[in-house]
Symmetry: C2
Subunit: 334 residues, 2 copies
Amino acid sequence: MAFAHPYLMFLGDAPDQLAAKTAQGVAFWRPDWCPGQFRLPGCQADLGLPDMSIEDAAQAGCRTVIVGVANRGGVISESWTEALVEALGAGMDVASGLHTRLRDVERLREAAERHGRQLLDVRHPRRSFDVGKGSKRPGKRVLTVGTDCSVGKMYTALALEAAMQRRGMAADFRATGQTGILIAGDGVSVDAVVADFISGAAEWLTPAADPDHWDVVEGQGSLFHASFAGVSTGLLHGSQPDALVLCHEPTRTHMRGLPDFALPDLGACLRRNEETARLTNPAVCSVGVAVNTAAMREPEAEDYLAKVGRELDLPAVDPVRHGVEPIVDALEGL
Amino acid sequence: MAFAHPYLMFLGDAPDQLAAKTAQGVAFWRPDWCPGQFRLPGCQADLGLPDMSIEDAAQAGCRTVIVGVANRGGVISESWTEALVEALGAGMDVASGLHTRLRDVERLREAAERHGRQLLDVRHPRRSFDVGKGSKRPGKRVLTVGTDCSVGKMYTALALEAAMQRRGMAADFRATGQTGILIAGDGVSVDAVVADFISGAAEWLTPAADPDHWDVVEGQGSLFHASFAGVSTGLLHGSQPDALVLCHEPTRTHMRGLPDFALPDLGACLRRNEETARLTNPAVCSVGVAVNTAAMREPEAEDYLAKVGRELDLPAVDPVRHGVEPIVDALEGL
């Protein structure tokens, strides 16, 4: 699963901006790869990119159509198929982050075969993996871990990659979820891997590298999430991080999707992640905390970050408000 | 996936006794379900059961043929197909613990369809599961956890079920691996489930029950196994055990399949399991240690068990040598 860019961002008939969240993430982090968007009549989402027809996009050199949108019902609607078939005919691949598989839509499968193009379903890994080995590999790795799901682990990893590259460090974002995979152009949706192979998939994703190279690995779930901690555990073991960054959203009142579960204490969460990671990398250490303070006013956010930083004795930042430089400082010291 | 018994144990042309390990486990734990065995010329395994032809087995009322054997290459050989097709024609289902799927063998698939029989591949769950919810369910649960893979977690769970039932306790073994599933007649191969659904599958396996009912859950892997800890974590969270039994094999020099990994300290291993389990059941407690002392002489084994029992302040037994009564005493007190 490796996608060729430039991308045409396909928004279909998205009912609102939120439905295009995945596409928005890709356009935000990879503006150079996204020359335009394709919208059907009635589309209520807008990435602020030039609108293009399929023909325009082909002429502009687009190589993959990214279906980064959810419509009502979560299926690939008939109204989309027409345009996607046209794109396959115009020489583009089609990639999708939807649960429904592109290749289960007969007209798309036929058109892809006829034109020798690929249908790429990022939620459904087609690659098979070995069982994790646990052996220490050269190269450095930093993993974003979370108190909960959807607390900014992908955003933080991408902000770290960007800041590290600006300093001339060799750093590559390693994607473990669907939006991340579309942004990276490759990766593994680790929660869709067969359970026996979670750590093996994470090892594949973060292979042996130059001693100075950093894999910046997107975390998944949380060790304290009753639904997904198995995925988080396998990812910790397989990616064998040298450094951990804890991500947190301070206004959440319970674990995502689990109304009866409170969020863990930040210190306890970080210690549990360190203990777990130590199995495959005894030298693991925590280097910072990334907090999504979007729901707080500036002084409140600064107080909160100062308090967290003091309590955990680590740099605490909001990657959106303040960037991640203090965390990159810590990584440079490793 | 629920199998009808009695079972005809199919040994094919097993090259040695070890190749029939799965079949042996089923025959040992469910002797009443296993009236006979089927062997091809050259078979080097023997369960000590009466040899039966397919016709004999059908007349004896066998309802499922259990392919509990591995041949050279791990595939379903042509020489087996003949007999299995005959069994389907005689009205029996066929169940297999092999990696190769029965339904991928065209002649078997055709025969099953023609005769309206089932092909049951226990390694490949066909059921789909919900994401784990983590909500506390009525009923009691005990889970066997391990310092490593293959240290007696299934054997211990089955020994507990048998001893509990002898005392009149309501107890059901819950299988999480292939041999266990054939023994229980149902279950989930949790390591073959998609990673997002490990805890959900474990919840399905151990549903709400009478307050006095015990699920005796077969553990998988180890929190300290770099390949499989994700599976162990999801199983701990989903089965939300009230009680843990730690299983251990004291002569092992490294983690199974991982030459560079030492076994964990027993106390540290138990504490980590308790901490992890506490997320979905804060009242979890450890009730005993089950040690496979097969490689030790009797006085050495007794000394070792006494030492472990003292150090962990728990009953420590070898389920094969001494049974599991002291652990059942502890469970009765809960």
